[in-house]
């Protein structure tokens, strides 16, 4: 499925926005302006952009925890300033300040975040079951890392998607590391996609640094799911430029990653590759690209101002207790 100029422009714009957001989150964490922790997605923003950009508002999505789902959510059309406010500990946040780092955009069918790797397979089974029952052609986008496929939950999720022919897309963002451990030590085959194939789910492996390549296979998978043909599995091989979470060591096993590894990685920065492509293909001119960056920078700046100017939520214990159960 080849992409139109308009589709490429949208993908490129979202990639630029994701890049600005990622760098901003890293800076704010280092400045002490974010609460708790942040797991940077630097170097691996292309799969999330491709996964989110072509979804409808009522397509449920589970964003990857890396980058705290920002890339995926902004591509789906969600205003990230409410997530930033949450992660800044403010009452205007998407969870009212109750969580600090969870997201919740139920009107966009992005329901939750959790600290438990593999929970995506659990919840997305239900989203996809509901989508099939609804019969409106909804698609469920289930994004997670290679590490999540170590969880037994991944088997259950793929098993049930396959036997029930659920409209679910498994987006495996394989960056080669689960925290410190290299994938070669934690998975027996070169491609995780073989696991999906074993459960009769069509699977493709794609260059996860190339947003347009990922988008092409995503569009095919969306088309398949919307037309009742069942689940698909996409393994996007991508890179992790930074440490697992900011402030942690960046190891391979128990030794620091080698400088050569970083040097090689940086040559394949997804934004650099995408910029070359849109210029070479004549999709965008340099002034147009510059303008996209200006708008993205402004989006982030406005969101930071919103988050920083918002008040910290200070509910009483009684007010918090009143939020434990729904009326």
């Amino acid at each position: 499925m080849s992409l139109t100029t308009e589709q490429m422009t949208t993908l490129f714009t979202n990639l630029v926005r994701a890049d600005h957001w990622g760098k901003t989150m890293y800076r704010r964490m280092m400045q002490g302006k974010l609460i708790g922790f942040y797991h940077p997605a630097d170097g691996a923003i292309a799969p999330g952009v491709a996964a989110g950009t072509f979804l409808n508002q009522d397509d449920p999505m589970w964003p990857h925890h890396r980058g705290h789902g920002i890339t995926h959510m902004l591509s789906k059309g969600i205003d990230i300033k409410y997530y930033l406010a949450e992660h800044t500990g403010k009452g205007t946040g998407c969870c009212g300040g109750n969580s600090g780092w969870h997201f919740s955009f139920p009107e966009d069918h992005v329901h939750l975040q959790t600290g438990f790797i593999g929970a995506n397979f659990m919840a997305c089974t239900g989203y996809a079951w509901a989508a099939k029952q609804n019969g409106r052609g909804q698609v469920v986008m289930n994004c997670s890392g290679d590490g999540s496929y170590g969880e037994g939950r991944s088997h259950e999720g793929m098993l049930m998607a396959s036997i029930w022919k659920l409209p679910q897309i498994f987006m495996c963002e394989n960056n080669g590391y689960s925290i410190f451990s290299p994938i070669e030590e934690m998975h027996p085959t070169e491609d995780i996609a073989t696991v999906a194939q074993g459960l009769d789910i069509p699977a493709v492996v794609v260059d996860g640094q190339d947003v347009f390549a990922v988008a092409e296979v995503v569009l095919a998978a969306i088309d398949r799911a919307r037309n009742g043909k069942g689940p698909s599995f996409i393994e996007a091989k991508c890179l992790r430029f930074k440490e697992h979470d900011i402030g942690n060591r960046d190891l391979r096993g128990w030794e620091p990653r080698q400088q050569e590894e970083y040097d090689e990685m940086y040559k394949r920065d997804p934004l650099v590759l995408a910029t070359e492509r849109v210029l070479n293909d004549g999709v965008l001119t340099q002034p147009e690209i510059d303008a996209i960056h200006v708008v993205a920078a402004q989006e982030v700046e406005d969101a930071e101002k919103f988050a920083d100017d918002s008040p910290v939520a200070r509910p009483s214990i009684e007010e918090m207790e009143a939020m434990v159960f729904a009326p």
Partner: protein
């Protein structure tokens, strides 16, 4: 008056709620065939899209309910046995309980979890263990257990209508108890205890099969002039402390019978709350009759562990001295 067994009453509650609201569905393992009879035959009326069998995969099974609930459905997830809810404890308790609060108290998670629990069948820890105390410790989940057929129908109906996750196990020891159950839909609110027998000398809290033991004892001891007030808490979260305090204001003595383990169990929590809020009413220390802190043995050894009528009677006589 029409009578049903307890397990038939659960089935009728599910059936009527499914007729009323097409967003209600049930997911479990071999519920179509009906491993336990509360789902037997529902497949004929509602079909496999609403009586949903999954592979033996508790996490995926639970996920079908959890995700669908967030997408606007009202699922009932059937764990067969209570301990199976521990296979995916993270999801069934931690994530479920925190979902509403942690995500800004804006989108509810209306789902029911049910399962069989209970000693008496000599089937060992794995199949008999109680789970209500464990689930009571997870904020955000309502926990209830009905003891009578009438309560079972009304409480299951309320659980299905509730906008929160509700864990409502049922005790295998009461599944064949018969009692009056009206044919129409009715609702017993969660969080309301029921005084099953009025008395003046001592208050005994008991639930499920132990409730029947205590009611038998109350009948027997009444002949000696000992008047026992018997309360079924029915719900553990929310817990109806007022009914208990009102009772001990009259009886000044409290015994709590709970077949869950003694340590960190519901009996401990109730005991602590009564001491905090009703100490002045008490003329004697609160007594708890619980399961000793050992894994529930299978076989005949099970009989030696559980609270018995003899243990309860001895405790009543001690507290009245």
């Amino acid at each position: 008056m029409r009578e049903l067994t307890y397990i038939q009453a659960i089935r009728e509650a599910i059936q009527l709620e499914m007729r009323t609201d097409d967003k209600v569905f049930m997911v479990g393992q071999d519920i179509r065939g009906g491993v336990y009879p509360h789902t037997k035959g529902l497949i004929d009326e509602f079909g496999p899209d609403r009586i949903v069998d999954t592979p033996i995969a508790e996490t995926g099974m639970f996920g079908t309910a959890f995700g669908a609930a967030l997408e606007g459905y009202r699922p009932i997830v059937d764990y067969m046995f209570g301990s199976c809810a521990f296979v995916n404890f993270n999801e069934s308790s931690v994530m479920t309980g925190q979902q509403y609060f942690m995500h800004g108290a804006k989108s509810s998670l209306p789902m029911v979890m049910t399962c069989a629990v209970g000693l008496g069948k000599r089937i060992g820890n794995d199949h008999a263990m109680f789970i209500h105390s464990t689930f009571c410790r997870q904020p955000g989940i309502k926990v209830a257990m009905a003891s009578t057929p009438y309560d079972a129908k009304g409480m299951f109906a309320s659980a299905i209508r509730d906008n929160n996750p509700v864990m409502i196990p049922w005790h295998t020891g009461v599944m064949q108890k018969r009692g009056h159950v009206p044919e129409e839909q009715y609702y017993i609110p969660l969080g309301v205890a029921d005084v099953k027998r009025e008395g003046t000398d001592v208050t005994v809290l008991a639930n499920s099969e132990q409730l029947y033991n205590v009611l038998d004892l109350a009948e027997e001891l009444a002949k000696e002039g000992i008047n026992i007030e018997v309360i079924d808490p029915r719900s553990f979260v929310p817990f109806d402390l007022d009914t208990v305090l009102k009772s001990i204001e009259k009886t000044n003595r409290l015994i709590i019978v709970d077949e869950d383990w003694e340590s960190c169990g519901m009996a401990s929590t109730i005991s602590a709350r009564v001491v905090e809020h009703g100490f002045d009413f008490l003329d004697a220390p609160i007594r708890r009759i619980c399961l000793p802190n050992i894994p529930i043995p299978g076989g005949y050894m099970e009989d030696y562990t559980r609270p018995t009528k003899e243990r309860i009677e001895a405790t009543i006589r001690e507290i009245l001295q």
